[in-house]
């Protein structure tokens, strides 16, 4: 199991340290990293899909890893986005970065990859928190890759959220360990004492800030708006998901029962995030900030899963859980594509306003089409993964009679459509045709298009994804 964590990192670290250019061609090294990851993957696949290994480093605490379908999906997603997104970022930024910055970029990418894999695989709180902290360090450094007032302020904002959350998490972990004698998620006993409940609430409180849940989202738009677009792509696609994933694992894998008011609160805050993020995105004059606000809007959906699952029948609850992870995949791919395409567009226009898009329609078609396809996935229209995810969530909420969440999900799609179509609309405008455009190189248009196509077509491949998550596949009857 541990081999999944480390081999991919070695080539990246080497690349980061090495000064000899020809060998550290990012293509070659990422290929090596991918091959190693694949080997580790196959080694595990040969044993059993549901294996869980243990690190012997800290035997006292019993830290361990777990690989299941969801973790496997997240590992695959991370591999795709780190290698693909990394290469895209390299192509986008190479010319502008000094040698030290390049080295920092690859180091941070390695750190991010390792930290994320740790989060996906960790089956106990200690490793989970370690992974989250690694990710946080990588994020702070990546945001500031090109120092400036805006990036510094953005990194500071993120750091404040992380630093104020970290002690809360540590305290919560300590209380949980004392109370239940273990940090392994599965072994956390159902809490009778209010102390355990309190600790569980603390974990939630410590994580929602990083997951940018309304009203603790304020750090996100400046951070994702200020970082370089390909880096924002990674941050919004993967990093925000890590915190949500941790929270989800914490409540759904441990034996703790989330109190009713808490799940409802998470759901209501999620609904508010959908509305507020959508509204801010709709009002936003800058393209990259619009995409960033869209993240606040989209992350809100994730939190609807808590109340929906809590009230769902035993048969339907796995559907909603699967639905939310399809949503995670969809948003990760689509948002990465949006940021990359937005980066291409902004660079081509030499300006970052939504209004500046007027008259670009015919002249940067590939990037615009990527943006458009990713937008379809964000709006949750078929056949995107967003549509499939919404279908599963709607089905569960209607099945258990929670029509108010139905209304939130259906209405939320219209909110997203409002800000996405605002961008589409500008691109069709024929005013401003005299604009001087420098179309992006073809190589930079590949990755956003690929990711957008994957997101927009994901709904057609829902069945294999569900199978990977352990839900009945084709021909196994209705659940």
């Amino acid at each position: 199991m541990t081999e999944l964590l480390f081999p991919p990192l070695l080539p990246l670290i080497w690349m980061a340290l090495c000064r000899w250019r020809p060998v550290c061609s990012p293509w070659a090294l990422l290929a090596v990293a991918s091959a190693l990851a694949l080997l580790a993957w196959m080694a595990i696949g040969c044993t059993d899909a549901g294996v869980s290994g243990r690190l012997s480093l800290l035997p006292v605490l019993g830290v361990g890893l777990r690989l299941d379908g969801v973790a496997a999906l997240m590992l695959g997603l991370t591999w795709l986005l780190i290698t693909g997104g990394g290469l895209h970022a390299w192509g986008f930024l190479e010319a502008e970065l000094a040698f030290r910055q390049r080295r920092r970029f690859w180091c941070c990418l390695a750190l991010l990859w390792g930290g994320l894999n740790l989060v996906w695989l960790a089956s106990d709180l200690l490793l989970l928190f370690m992974g989250l902290e690694l990710v946080a360090v990588a994020v702070v450094l990546l945001i500031q890759l090109r120092p400036g007032a805006a990036t510094r302020a953005a990194a500071r904002g993120y750091l404040i959220v992380v630093l104020s959350g970290a002690p809360v998490l540590v305290l919560a972990g300590f209380v949980l360990f004392v109370g239940s004698g273990s940090l392994t998620l599965r072994e956390l006993e159902p809490a009778d004492s209010s102390l355990l409940q309190m600790a569980a609430l603390l974990v939630t409180a410590g994580l929602v800030g990083r997951a940018a849940l309304f009203p603790l989202h304020t750090w996100l738009p400046p951070a994702h708006g200020a970082a370089e677009p390909p880096i924002s792509a990674l941050l919004s696609a993967l990093v925000t998901k890590a915190s949500f994933y941790s929270l989800f694992r914490f409540w759904h894998e441990s034996g703790l029962n989330a109190p009713f008011w808490l799940v409802m609160l998470l759901g209501v805050l999620g609904a508010l995030a959908i509305a507020w993020g959508g509204w801010k995105a709709w009002c936003e004059p800058r393209l990259k900030m619009l995409v960033a606000w869209s993240s606040v809007n989209q992350l809100g959906y994730l939190f609807l899963v808590f109340p929906i699952v809590a009230a769902a029948s035993v048969a339907m609850a796995p559907m909603a859980r699967a639905g939310v992870f399809v949503f995670v995949l969809n948003h990760a791919l689509a948002k990465a594509a949006l940021f990359m395409a937005a980066g291409n567009l902004i660079r081509a226009m030499g300006a970052g306003g939504v209004r500046d898009l007027g008259g670009t329609g015919q002249r940067i078609p590939v990037s615009l089409l990527s943006f458009g396809l990713a937008g379809v996935a964000i709006m949750g229209l078929p056949p995107s993964g967003g549509f499939a995810a919404k279908w599963l969530l709607l089905e569960t909420s209607l099945d258990s009679g929670q029509w108010w969440w139905t209304a939130v999900i259906a209405g939320g799609g219209l909110v997203s459509a409002a800000y996405i179509f605002r961008v589409y609309r500008q691109t069709y405008l024929t005013e401003g045709e005299a604009l001087v455009l420098t179309p992006p190189p073809r190589a930079l248009e590949v990755m956003p298009m690929l990711l957008a196509l994957m997101a927009a077509g994901m709904g057609l491949f829902l069945s294999p994804i569900l199978q990977l998550m352990g839900l009945p596949g084709p021909g196994e009857g209705t659940p």
């Binding site: 329609g361 015919q362 078609p365 089409l369 379809v376 709006m379 229209l381 078929p382 056949p383 549509f387 499939a388 919404k390 279908w391 599963l392 709607l394 089905e395 209607l398 099945d399 139905t406 259906a410 209405g411 799609g413 219209l414 459509a417 179509f421 589409y424 609309r425 069709y428 405008l429 024929t430 005013e431 709904g459 057609l460 829902l462 069945s463 569900l466 839900l471 009945p472 596949g473 084709p474 021909g475 196994e476 009857g477 209705t478 659940p479």
Partner: protein, 499 residues
């Protein structure tokens, strides 16, 4: 089985592949683009004809793709799908020719024709959808595919029309989606079947099924331009004429009307709709829309706007026929689905010809046009007379059956007067145009010294209009020939109503 699934997939795939290919073309590759467009349109028409022939022989063409366990994406050609697929593939060919002529030399043709093909691919999906879930998927994709066409001109007016259109269409799509999911949780999603499959559920859960029916009708009613949801359609007439043809005759409003027929006859089934008592209110709503659309059409002085309101009114005939729940009314609905398409596309082609050839947009500029553009004006007049319902043209056939349906459903007391009133209103807004075309003296804008034939529209614009104009006549005269829409509808009604 795979061989049988191939045809629906190819039918869908032809225009999809054409769309991707056209997107990749450069702006100036005019000849290649035209070839691809026409080849795809012809190929699709051939495939639909083959499928139609097979379906008439009792063949089943079906393609299944598992979305998740218990929920499939189904493409299937049955008799009703052939009606819509045949209509749109036939008219798509005409519209493609017309659009090539119309957009000659204007910018953004690759984008336009790419989305144009994409739009038709999704229309085919709507037609061939074998269950409600598949229908929902293509119905939503259709919205996305038409938006770029509506805003194609890129002017503020076009963009605002596009905004109105997507606002309505996406809100309708959301309502439809909730309805489809809700129905799925109650009764599962089964394949459409003549006569429907929800009677049992309607008996046990009448309230929920009524709610679902309302959601579905609201979602479909948006595209079918049913009364409170109709205003996007007149707004969208700022789009280029081929797009109007697509919206009004081939794809969008037809997808809504077709969906209503599907829901009432192949999903709920006439008995269940009868049991729930939701058919009557829908029919009344359709009746109100018919009269309202005609009244508004009467007030318009812009030719395309008048035609747009006329569509609002005419499409509701289909809804009315579907909601009246009788064999005759059902025949009327199916036949009108086709006949309205042929007539309305002719009218929009002609309106496009006037606008493109002589810059005429307003009705009062049409004076004496019959002398300058005799063929276009003849096609226009035939289609307009057909719309009024003058025998033996296409519109007469459908109105006749709708009237019979109204009597048969025991609602003759109000349906027949509505039809009569609407016919009078149709005459009131079409006859003055015909009068202006042929009997009034031309205004100042005449082109002297050239014969009328030289002043006619360009051949690419003229021929589609003439062809569909002739179809309007043939559909009326040959209504009882085999494979005519009427005979086909009579063939279908036996299955739905078990006659």
């Amino acid at each position: 089985m795979m061989g049988q699934g191939l045809l629906p997939m190819l039918t869908l795939g032809t225009s999809l592949v054409a769309a991707v290919f056209i997107f990749a073309l450069r702006e100036h590759q005019h000849r290649l683009r035209t070839t691809v467009n026409l080849a795809a349109a012809l190929l699709k028409l051939t495939l639909v004809v083959i499928m139609g022939w097979g379906v008439a022989q009792g063949e089943v063409y079906e393609l299944r793709w598992v979305f998740r366990s218990g929920l499939d994406i189904v493409l299937r050609a049955d008799q009703l799908s052939i009606v819509f697929a045949g209509l749109s593939s036939m008219l798509w060919l005409c519209t493609t020719i017309f659009a090539i002529g119309y957009l000659e030399g204007s910018p953004g043709r690759s984008r336009f024709f790419g989305f144009f093909s994409f739009c038709v691919a999704s229309t085919m999906g709507v037609a061939l959808a074998g269950n409600l879930f598949t229908f929902l998927i293509f119905y939503e994709i259709l919205t996305l595919a038409t938006y770029p066409l509506v805003v194609h001109r890129g002017t503020r007016a076009a963009l605002n029309a596009g905004r109105t259109y997507v606002t309505y269409a996406l809100a309708g799509g959301a309502a439809l989606m909730v309805g489809v999911v809700w129905l799925h949780t109650l009764a599962g999603t089964e394949d459409f079947q003549p006569g429907g499959y929800l009677l049992e559920n309607a008996r046990t859960q009448p309230v929920a099924l009524t709610g679902i029916f309302v959601l579905l009708v609201a979602g479909l009613g948006v595209k079918a331009a049913l009364m409170p949801f109709h205003s996007w359609l007149p707004a969208a007439m700022v789009a280029p004429a081929p797009v109007s043809a697509l919206l009004h005759a081939v794809a969008v409003v037809k997808a809504g009307a077709f969906g209503l027929i599907r829901v009432i006859h192949d999903l709920y089934g006439p008995e269940a709709v009868q049991y729930l008592g939701v058919g009557g209110p829908l029919a009344v709503l359709a009746g109100i829309t018919i009269l309202y659309g005609s009244l508004r059409a009467l007030q318009q002085q812009d030719l395309k706007r008048r035609l747009a309101f006329s569509t609002v009114s005419q499409v509701s005939y289909i809804t009315l026929g579907a909601a009246l729940l009788g064999p005759a009314a059902f025949i009327g609905a199916i036949v009108h689905l086709i006949h309205q398409g042929i007539m309305k596309i002719t009218l929009f082609f002609c309106a496009g010809n006037y606008a493109e050839t002589r810059g005429i947009h307003r009705i009062d500029e049409l004076d004496g046009m019959g002398r300058f553009m005799p063929l276009t004006s003849a096609a226009f007049s035939v289609a307009a007379l057909g719309m009024i319902g003058v025998p033996p043209l296409a519109g007469f056939i459908s109105k006749w059956w709708l009237g019979l349906g109204g009597l048969g459903a025991g609602q003759g007391a109000w349906v027949v007067p509505v039809l009569v009133a609407s016919t009078l209103l149709n005459a009131a807004y079409f006859l003055p145009i015909i009068n202006r075309l042929w009997f009034l003296e031309p205004g100042g804008a005449t082109v002297g010294g050239r014969s009328p034939w030289q002043q006619e529209a360009h051949a690419w614009l003229l021929w589609p209009a003439l062809f569909t104009g002739v179809l309007v006549i043939l559909a009326g005269i040959l209504a009882s020939m085999p494979f005519s829409p009427l005979v086909w509808a009579q063939f279908m009604v036996r299955e739905v109503y078990g006659l």
